[in-house]
Each structure stands twice: as structure tokens, then as C-alpha cells.
């Protein structure tokens, strides 16, 4: 109720101020009035919040928006198909961070600079510096260091929209009841994960993704980074099977073994629900769950959750991930699409989306007093971004092939006990080397 009221007042305010503007000057949106933009968004809590705010855009600008909502792991196939045609269906797409390099390598995205230099399109109050660095650099920039990181050779192709980092959620009530300390390091956390089975009947330790493919790979990366491991070294030699990689897998196996039943088939939804339905004492994954966790319709643990930074291993390194939005190179309405992109990621909209339950991307939103009162964990989250690891996973164009079908399968085999971790890692080495060789990564080392 309150959200709605706030929303309408914000919307009304925006509408009024805009009205004032239009009487003075022609609105930048006028030229595109009546255009219909087709956007491809994932089924995701952030985008559920966006759906509530999106009608305001049409009201303010007269530009219509049609959303094609897809499951996010399937979105990639559809986008590649659409964007590789001479004329595509989509004007704006939401992409997962790990697809950016591939898309740029295939020339599927429009660079954003031509729009930001166009005075008729670029809003002078956009304030790009306010967008979290830990988001815009890994999500939006392609072409810098290693090709996928930021750097002087890089350029901007997308803007973070629904980005995520990892935080630790824990049951305040259970921790207090048994006098447990909230883990700050990996050692402390690993000590705790198997304890809850005995302390609380029906409760398990840390809920984790574990399903074969992308899911279990993601879970492993969550631990690999703090432990100081990487998938490739600086010369693209695969080092995922380094002692750190093996240790991360051992940790993950212990977490899954002591976690909720069926963990090795968990995707994000099952993993999250185990926590929200009160079957796990801890949660270590994306911040995007925070909104839902306090919604009594979806969560049985409202008011019982504490949030803490991702525990420190050798280093502090929480995830960088989530979504960005970009304009396909074959869109028919690029300029209008840019206006939508800019509107969606503006300060005002970022706040509106946060109020509707989405994940904001701007520091100003996290520091907003009104929002901090409503979401007491915001200051903690803002802190967490500082520890986000930019090079969290190799965001190379070949990652799709390496991630789910290769690493994700080996890890799943190791987690379910089909193979030892070492064996599973060794078995995929030839395939990893083959993929990398074929893409030309080793042609310079000869």
C-alpha cells in the first residue's frame, strides 16, 4: 500500500515536472512518440519490479514498450538468433554479464558512445559516475584488459540493470538461540555448515545451488574467488584444478552434503526457497533475494534474517554478476531504445525500481535516507560492492562453452560422488584446451 502511494506520488511528480518541461521546450521524446519498442527481459525479481515502473515511461514519453519475458538461461539462445538476423525482433535486450564478450565479438551490440555524444538524446543529468563502479565496469565495458575487463582500450556496450553481488544471509533467531557467531571468514563458515543438523531438527546449514551445468559452476566460483583461485592464469593456461580450485570444490561438496535435501539438483529458485521456507540456516548468493525475503507471501522467515558480507577467504571477493541492458545492432529503433535505456537507469527510475523491490545500480539509491529506512541492509550492501571481484570469472566469448557443458558437468559429477574432484577436473582438461586452442588463445604463446 505504502509503496504504491509512494510510487504514484513519485510518478505524479515526474509527470508534473515533465509537463513543465514540455511547455518550455520540445521534449526529446516527442520525435519517437507512438513508436513501439520490443524489449527482452528475463523472469527475475528485479524485472518484476521493473514491470511495475515501466508503464510510467509510456505515460511520460508516449513510447510504447512490449516486453518479451523469458527464462534467463534460455534467453541467450533467443537473443543470439534474433540479433544475428538482418532484422531482429528486439530493440533492447537484457543480457547476463557472461554473454557480453561473445555478443561484442559477434558484432551483435551497438556501442553506446554514439548516443551519449548526441545532445538531442543524452540527458545532462544522467550522472554516469553515480552508477556503481563494481557494476558498470564488469557488466558494461568490453575490450579492456584480457578483453573482458575494464581498461583504456575498452568501450561501453551496456549499462548495469539488475546487477548482483553475493552476500551472506543468516537466521538471526537461530544464531542467537545457539549463541553462534556470524562467520566472517571461510574457516568460521565451514565450521558452521554441518552443525545445524544437530542443533535444530529439520534445519540444514548453508543452502547452495548444485544442479548440473551453470548452477553448480556458479556455486563453485562463489568459493573459488575468495580462496584466491582463478579459472585461467594470465596466459590462458587453465588453472581451475589448482589447489585453490580443488579446495573450493571440496568446500562446495561439504556445503551440499550438509545442506538441504536434493541440493545437487538445486537451481537458484530451489536454493533460495530452501532458505525462505526455513530449511536452511544460511544463504550465500545474490543480493536479489533481499526483497522477497521480507515478503510474507513468499517467505516464512520475515524479520528473522541478518545480512553480512561474503566471508573472507584468502581475500575478500564477492561475486560480480547480474544483468545489463544493451541495444542490439540490428534494432530498428535504436535512438528510442537508447532513451528507454537512459530512462530505466536514471537516478529517479533507479529509486522507483528499488522501492518496487528491484536491485538498484546507483550509489545514490543505496545512500538514499528514505530507502535506507525501508531497507536497513542497504548500507551493508553498499559496503559489499567495494569487495566485489571484477575478474570473478573469465567473461570470454568461449565461457558459454566452458561453463555449463564442461566445468558444470565435471563439478556436478564430483558433487554427486560419481568421480573424485581431481578425476572430474582432469577428465575435462582436453576439452578445455581444445576449446581454447580452437579460439586461438594459444597462438601467441608459440
Amino acid at each position: 500500500m505504502r509503496i504504491q502511494k509512494a510510487l504514484t506520488s513519485v510518478a505524479l511528480g515526474a509527470a508534473v515536472s515533465l509537463l513543465a518541461l514540455t511547455t518550455a521546450l520540445a521534449s526529446p521524446y516527442d520525435k519517437y512518440k507512438g513508436t513501439t519498442l520490443v524489449v527482452n527481459f528475463p523472469a527475475h525479481p528485479h524485472y518484476d519490479a521493473v514491470a511495475k515502473v515501466l508503464p510510467d515511461f509510456t505515460k511520460e514519453t508516449g513510447i510504447k514498450v512490449e516486453v518479451d519475458k523469458l527464462q534467463y538461461m534460455r534467453m541467450h539462445d533467443k537473443q543470439v538468433l534474433e540479433m544475428s538476423k538482418p532484422q531482429g525482433d528486439y530493440d533492447l535486450i537484457s543480457y547476463v554479464i557472461m554473454w557480453k564478450t561473445e555478443y561484442v565479438a559477434k558484432n551483435l551490440l551497438s556501442p553506446l558512445a554514439p548516443f551519449f555524444v548526441n545532445a538531442a538524446l543524452a540527458d545532462p543529468d544522467y550522472d554516469p559516475e553515480d552508477i556503481l563502479k563494481a557494476y558498470i565496469e564488469p557488466v558494461g565495458i568490453v575490450g579492456g584488459k584480457k578483453g573482458y575487463l575494464t581498461g583504456v582500450t575498452g568501450a561501453l556496450y551496456g549499462v548495469p540493470f539488475g546487477s548482483e553481488t553475493s552476500v551472506l544471509g543468516y537466521r538471526k533467531d537461530i544464531f542467537a538461540k545457539h549463541n553462534l557467531k556470524v562467520p566472517e571468514t571461510y574457516d568460521e563458515m565451514m565450521d558452521l555448515v554441518c552443525k545445524f543438523k544437530d542443533l535444530e531438527p529439520g534445519m540444514s546449514g548453508l543452502t547452495s545451488r548444485g544442479a548440473a551445468g551453470h548452477q553448480v559452476g556458479h556455486a563453485w566460483l562463489l568459493h573459488l574467488n575468495p580462496l584466491g583461485g582463478t579459472v585461467f592464469d594470465d596466459h590462458w593456461k587453465p588453472v581451475y584444478d589448482s589447489p585453490e580450485g580443488i579446495k573450493a570444490a571440496q568446500y562446495l561438496k561439504k556445503i551440499l552434503d550438509c545442506g538441504p535435501e536434493g541440493g545437487t539438483a538445486f537451481g537458484f529458485d530451489e536454493m533460495k526457497n530452501a532458505f525462505l521456507q526455513g530449511k536452511a540456516a544460511m544463504y550465500l548468493d545474490s543480493v536479489s533475494v533481499a526483497g522477497e525475503a521480507e515478503n510474507p507471501e513468499k517467505s516464512k522467515i520475515v524479520g528473522k534474517i541478518g545480512w553480512a558480507p561474503h566471508p573472507k577467504g584468502k581475500v575478500k571477493a564477492s561475486q560480480t554478476g547480474g544483468f545489463g541492458i544493451a541495444i542490439p545492432a540490428n534494432s530498428k529503433n535504436k535512438e528510442a531504445a537508447f532513451l528507454l535505456l537512459q530512462w530505466l537507469t536514471s537516478k529517479a527510475t533507479d529509486k522507483k525500481i528499488a522501492l518496487a523491490g528491484g536491485s538498484p545500480s546507483r550509489m545514490s539509491t543505496y545512500l538514499d535516507p528514505e530507502l535506507q529506512k525501508k531497507f536497513p541492509y542497504y548500507p551493508m550492501f553498499a559496503e559489499a560492492f567495494k569487495a566485489a571481484a571484477y575478474d570473478w570469472r573469465p567473461l570470454i566469448a568461449e565461457w558459454g562453452e566452458l561453463n555449463a557443458p564442461t566445468l558444470g558437468v565435471a563439478l556436478s559429477e564430483a558433487m554427486t560422488g560419481k568421480k573424485t574432484i581431481e578425476q572430474a577436473f582432469a577428465d575435462i582438461k582436453p576439452r578445455v584446451v581444445e576449446i581454447m586452442t580452437k579460439a586461438g588463445y594459444y597462438s601467441w604463446s608459440k
Binding site: 551483435l108 535435501e261 530451489e270 521456507q277 558437468v409 559429477e413
Partner: protein, 333 residues
């Protein structure tokens, strides 16, 4: 009451086998036809066939040929088709080097043969057990064909829901009975079994219906003769009914086997191939190679591998059907 089902089944023994030319009346080659009509008559069969051939050519044959061609190309999804380059046997060689391909082939064969064996055993056993003209049988038969009519995607959804370890009905029952939770889809050992159970649920009725039809079309005289000779029920089944049903059972088995290689949706929804590769059947592996790994050439090479397996089975079906027909003709003479 002779149903159409009975008619078709009754006519099994002298029924012509697939696709060959048995001695049949040839109404249209009569020499009496007038010359003017002759040309029309001669082209008539082609006119009748043309539309079907066109559709199958464009929608089946051409794609299959194109897939063979594609398997010798290196082409990534999302790149223009012009960017494809000829790569010789590289796609095939790469498949041979990839242990996952062997695993996936193994899973496919295990899945297909297990489901078919289970379905045939169960289906035939049930048909023998339930063969008895009773009231209400047609209603029961209707109920039995329901699972086959449900979309595979929906079957996958239903079973995934039932197998859920958090809220699925199967584990609720297991816990109530005191067995404890079963890791239906989350353990490497169990997942393939769970997928097989779902398939057996959907397709055993198919074998059952066929076996039932075969039973009903058996010559009553043979069974009567066995009874006169003093054979007990078991002996009648073993020495008379089963051998007579055998041709139908074998055909049904091969048909199911070929269909088992077409399975994709149920597994795509239930496990998406996991955990590990424990349920990654070839058809799913093809899809993933094409649209997740985006290697269209490699996916085509995999497609051809699957096609080869299915083709071998089809030839077996064909050869068997011919042999049976020859036998039938001998009997008829």
C-alpha cells in the same frame, strides 16, 4: 461386435509388410484402358504422391541432407552463414575425442533399452493377466491411453513436481511411510531411474494395448487345441499365445525403441541432463551443443551419429517386417 480395431488386427497375418510390392490386384494397369486415358493414368500415381513427396522432401529429406553438409562445417550460432568454413572431418574427430559424447551415447542406449524392456515385459504381462472379456474393459482401456496423450513437456513438468525433494508428493509419501527422502533427481544414481520411471508410466500402456489387440486376434482354434491337449493356463501362454503374439511384440518393441531415441522434452524439463551427464541423452546433447555451446557444425555431426543409430534400428525393423511377411505368405499358401 467387430470393432475396426479387431478388423485391422485380424488381418495381420496376410497384411502386406511395409513398403514393398506384394502381389496385389492391379486395377489400373488393365490393358483395356483407352490410349488417351493412358497417359493420365500413368501419371496419376505421381500426381497423388507429389504433394506428400514435396512436403517430406522440403521438411525432412532436405534438412537431413543439409545436416550432413553442415557437419563438415565450422559454424557458430549467431554468425552469418557465410562465415561457415569447411573443416573436413574435424567435427567428427573432435566428437571421438570427447569423453562426454561416449557418456551421452551410453546414457541414450541405457535409457532406450531399459525403458523398452521394462515396458514390453510389463505391457505383455498385464495384457496376458487382464485378457478376459469383461464389462467396462473399454473404459479401462480409455483410461490406460490417457498418459500417452499428454504432451511430453507436461509429463516432464508433472514428474519434476512429483519428484521434488522439498514438496513433491513422492517424498511426502516416502516420509510418511518412514522410508525417508529419496534423492529422485539429485543423485547421479537415481536420476536416470527416475526419468525411466516417467517414460515407463507414459508408454507401457502402448505395449499393453498392442499386446491386448494381438491376443484378441489369436485364432481361437489354436487355444482350443491346446486346451484339448490338456495344457494348463501357463503352458497355453508359454507355448501357444506368446509364440503367436511374437511378431506383434517384436514390431511393437522396435517401434518403441525407435521412439525412445526421440525422447527429449521430458528430460529437458525434468533434469536438463543432470546431475553430471547422468541423464544427458543424445538428443538433448545435440540441442545443447547447438544452442548453448553454439557449435552448429558439431551439433550436426552429433545429429548424424544419432541418425545412424536410429537408422540401424530402422533397417532391423524393415528386415524383420519383410521376413515376417514372407513367412505369412508361406503360411497362407
Amino acid at each position: 461386435m467387430p470393432t475396426t480395431a479387431d478388423q485391422t488386427t485380424l488381418h495381420v497375418p496376410q497384411g502386406p509388410a511395409l513398403g514393398d510390392a506384394p502381389s496385389r490386384p492391379r486395377p489400373h494397369t488393365g490393358r483395356r484402358a483407352r490410349r488417351g486415358k493412358r497417359l493420365l493414368n500413368r501419371s496419376t500415381p505421381y500426381l497423388f504422391l507429389l504433394p506428400a513427396l514435396a512436403f517430406m522432401g522440403v521438411g525432412l529429406l532436405y534438412p537431413v541432407c543439409r545436416s550432413v553438409w553442415l557437419s563438415f562445417q565450422d559454424w557458430k550460432l549467431g554468425m552469418a552463414p557465410e562465415s561457415a568454413v569447411f573443416s573436413g572431418w574435424e567435427n567428427y574427430l573432435s566428437l571421438l575425442r570427447d569423453p562426454n559424447v561416449y557418456t551421452s551415447t551410453g546414457v541414450t542406449l541405457t535409457f532406450a533399452f531399459t525403458v523398452v524392456v521394462l515396458e514390453v515385459l510389463l505391457g505383455v504381462a498385464l495384457a496376458l493377466l487382464l485378457e478376459r472379456p469383461i464389462r467396462g474393459m473399454s473404459l479401462f482401456r480409455t483410461v490406460f491411453i490417457l498418459p500417452m496423450m499428454v504432451a511430453p513437456v507436461v509429463v516432464g513438468l508433472i514428474w519434476r513436481f512429483m519428484y521434488s525433494e522439498q514438496f513433491g508428493i513422492l517424498n511426502k509419501i516416502a516420509k510418511a511411510v518412514g522410508i525417508g527422502g529419496v534423492p529422485w533427481l539429485s543423485s547421479q544414481e537415481m536420476a536416470l531411474t527416475s526419468v525411466i520411471i516417467a517414460d515407463v508410466w507414459q508408454w507401457t500402456p502402448f505395449i499393453f494395448i498392442l499386446a491386448m489387440a494381438a491376443l484378441q486376434s489369436l485364432p481361437a482354434s489354436a487355444i482350443e487345441a491346446a486346451r484339448v491337449d490338456g495344457a494348463n493356463t501357463w503352458q497355453t501362454i508359454w507355448h501357444v499365445k506368446l509364440p503367436l503374439m511374437m511378431p506383434v511384440i517384436i514390431i511393437a518393441t522396435l517401434l518403441r525403441l525407435i521412439d525412445a531415441f526421440k525422447v527429449l522434452e521430458v528430460i529437458y524439463i525434468m533434469t536438463d541432463g543432470g546431475p553430471g551427464l547422468s541423464t544427458e541423452i543424445l538428443s538433448l546433447h545435440i540441442y545443447k551443443t547447438a544452442f548453448v555451446s553454439q557449435q552448429l557444425g558439431r551439433a550436426s555431426a552429433l545429429s548424424n551419429l544419432l541418425l545412424l543409430i536410429v537408422l540401424a534400428l530402422s533397417v532391423a525393423l524393415f528386415v524383420f517386417s519383410k521376413a515376417r511377411e514372407r513367412q505369412a505368405r508361406k503360411v497362407a499358401m
